[in-house]
């Protein structure tokens, strides 16, 4: 299915958010996620199913002022 990952179209296979993060190569990475502009906490990821056209945001620590 096709989703939008960090603003770009992306074809993915896994639907469960935990599996999808593994598929995308984030395994144990320190990242935070939001699906359709809603924050999804680490503890809730296993219960979230990503669907066609969903918007997934993955963010990580970055320099800031």
């Amino acid at each position: 299915m096709r989703i939008t990952l960090n603003g770009e179209p992306r074809d993915v296979t896994a639907a469960r958010l935990t599996d999808l993060l593994d598929e995308l190569g984030f395994g144990d990475a320190r990242v935070a996620t939001a699906v359709n502009e809603q924050f999804v906490a680490v503890a809730d990821r296993a219960g979230v199913i990503v669907a066609e056209d969903d918007r997934l945001e993955i963010v990580a620590p970055m320099q800031g002022g």
Binding site: A29, R30, F39, A60, P61, M62, Q63, G64
Partner: protein
């Protein structure tokens, strides 16, 4: 020094992590600054991206981490970003920025108060990036903020303290509240001045990261903050318009 949400800082200098020529220079600047807090942000990550190395770098600094909501323009955006930051950085602290104007990056104080209220109810410890408006400050405190961070000048401008009168008024109006001048500091004298006014800390980034020698400037800022703090504690003299001889007049020999 006043505590920030019950955390005592080791220095009144809060230093940003953006815009350094390299991670090594960033680390060197932080070491030279003795900064009490480092500010950080969140951005989109791709697999194997730079965020993981950066996380390792800031943990090695060993000082409290203050994540920001930089670039957020709405309450919803700022609140969601704060939740993501709390999880990634494992801290209830959030430097709350809700930007209202593209050119000046002035905070949208109406949205700021609303976002602060939402986050405080959810257990966050909010450091609001605000203007020097007393009424806004009162509303942020009423919402539960225990720190106020008025701007000195627009972010990244290096203009210093644009409205010293307003900053003095804030210090006088909120004598028990930890106050931080956040944004606008360009050179050490600006930082020293903020501390002379009785502010509890200054938060700066560009002035150090964009200096020709960031580590040397970081040290200069640390010295300025310390000097300004000591001067405030020493209760400075009042300025006056006319001269007042410092050498006693009485006993001067009559020689004319």
């Amino acid at each position: 020094m006043r505590a920030f949400y019950e955390t005592e800082l080791t220095s009144s200098l809060m230093l940003g992590t953006a815009g350094y020529p390299s991670p090594a220079i960033l680390a060197k600047a932080f070491k030279a600054s003795g900064a009490g807090v480092c500010t950080v942000s969140l951005r989109r990550e791709s697999a194997g991206g730079a965020g993981q190395d950066f996380w390792a770098l800031i943990r090695e600094l060993g000082i409290p981490i203050l994540p920001n909501t930089a670039g957020c323009h709405t309450v919803k955006e700022a609140v969601t970003t704060a939740h993501m930051a709390r999880e990634v950085f494992d801290t209830p602290w959030i430097k709350l920025e809700v930007i209202g104007h593209t050119d000046t990056l002035q905070p949208d104080v109406f949205a700021l108060v609303e976002a602060a209220r939402v986050l405080l109810e959810d257990g966050f410890q909010v450091f609001p990036y605000t203007t020097d408006d007393l009424v806004v400050g009162e509303k942020l405190l009423a919402a539960g903020c225990e720190v106020l961070m008025p701007w000195g000048a627009p972010i990244g401008s290096g203009l210093g303290l644009n409205n010293e009168y307003a900053l003095r008024a804030m210090r006088s109006e909120f004598p028990e509240v930890p106050l931080v001048v956040d944004a606008g500091i360009g050179v050490p004298s600006h930082a020293a001045r903020a501390m002379e006014l009785g502010f509890d800390a200054v938060l700066l980034n560009t002035a150090v990261s964009q200096a020709g020698d960031p580590a040397q400037m970081a040290r200069a800022m640390a010295l300025a903050v310390e000097a300004g703090r000591a001067a405030f504690q020493a209760d400075p003299m009042e300025p006056r318009d006319m001269a007042e001889p410092s050498t006693p007049v009485i006993g001067k020999a009559f020689l004319s």
